[in-house]
Symmetry: C2
Subunit: 255 residues, 2 copies
């Protein structure tokens, strides 16, 4: 039986707790948070603590805490030479105190507190200083059904950055579409199947191949009609920049 201590109480901590508890060969031995209230509801299922000095000996310590806290918190842990990993996309593995065996266990997915997550759709980016630890972390991810990938700190930072484009920025385009439709008496809900289809399409073909529309075609008439229809200067700025971006990609404009 593999034993894990989770440290932190955010979305990643909570989802990892639930995923690990469902496995057969791994269990969460203890859950630490500096504010015990945040994890009190789990007190019946697992040993909880807010005292660093009560932390038990385990095979793995998962720091699912804010990026800025990782360095100093890892130093403050009152033990050494045990495997400690963080779950951040943009913190270097060497930010963990070198008294520990160190690793990174970064789930590349967007977690909501409420929505359940199927870990089969959560790729885990794994990094470790020792090969033995890498294989241990890989086994853990596999135990709850996640695909894994060996990713070093530089690659992980790039993935974290690219994730902003496909998650935060994409979601903002949905938001702008929401603003545009609602302000002109059209119904945003009608766009939802298209939103899903657009995401599904690039599961199989490249975004380059998947592109369609007036910008790619160089259809100036439609582009001008769209710009006339837009009531907000900001919406126009986004329209113009992304139209230009598509035209750079598809050879209609030079960089």
């Amino acid at each position: 039986m593999i034993s894990v201590v989770i440290l932190g109480a955010g979305n990643v901590a909570t989802h990892l707790f639930q995923a690990i508890q469902k496995t057969e060969n791994t269990r969460v031995l203890q859950w630490y948070n500096r504010h015990i209230d945040a994890i009190k509801t789990y007190g019946q299922d697992v040993d909880i603590t807010d005292n660093l000095y009560d932390i038990k000996e385990a095979d793995l310590y998962i720091l699912a805490i804010s990026d800025d806290a990782i360095k100093s918190f890892s130093s403050s842990l009152p033990f050494e030479n045990r495997l400690v990993v963080h779950t951040s996309g943009c913190v270097n593995i060497h930010d963990l105190d070198k008294k520990h065996k160190r690793g990174v266990f970064y789930p590349l997915q967007s977690f909501s507190k409420k929505a359940k997550m199927d870990f089969a759709h959560v790729p885990i980016c794994i990094e470790a200083l020792e090969s033995e630890d890498y294989h241990f972390l890989k086994k853990l991810a596999r135990s709850f059904g996640s695909p894994t990938k060996k990713v070093n700190s530089d690659q992980r930072k790039v993935l974290h950055l690219a994730a902003v484009y496909v998650n935060n920025f994409t979601n903002q385009l949905y938001r702008l579409a929401h603003e545009i439709t609602e302000s002109q008496s059209a119904e945003f809900d009608l766009l939802k199947p298209l939103i899903l289809e657009t995401a599904k399409k690039v599961q199989d073909i490249s975004p380059y191949m998947a592109q369609t529309g007036p910008a790619k075609r160089g259809d100036k008439k439609t582009i001008n009609n769209h710009l006339e229809l837009l009531q907000s200067e900001h919406h126009k700025d986004v329209y113009n920049l992304l139209t230009k971006s598509i035209q750079i990609t598809h050879g209609r404009k030079k960089l």
Copy 2:
């Protein structure tokens, strides 16, 4: 039995042909295209023609042709007082020649020639000048399982515009993420589950509520790290504008 003539040979025409042929109470009586070669492979299943004067009498004529051609093509049809609809997002219903009974049958979805489409996920935006024709078109859409919505020409134009944001522009963000990852030795494929999850999330909650990330949090440190990591000025322009956009939406920046 409802009889339909399809005119045009693009993706929309082909998908509508396949959808209609599967229904029990509607059939494609004839398929017209000015270049017969484009529809020759369907010649065994349906009567095909490239001659306007051979077009048969039917309950409905679906013009699935390019936007610019709709007006003149509808005038050139050698019959009148029959129900003629176009399938365009941005052409007014009144662009159809007034000798016809007129309507619009706009499938709000992105069709690929190859990929099969489940019409249960294709909302049909319907407009008609006569109530009788509206109900007829609604029944047709329902017969192949599509949800329908009464949408006038102004609303349809706005939906067509908003579709560019959630489809073309979103796909371009996937493309930029592809460029960023591949140019820095990271793997775009790892982002695919996140792309899908981002689209799924807004099926149930609003894009406003779904937003997360450094721009929304006002996390300047991460934003600056990301900007430093970006190697292309164009990628930075997109990063800056969409970060600003998120901050306008979430009250961190004024318009």
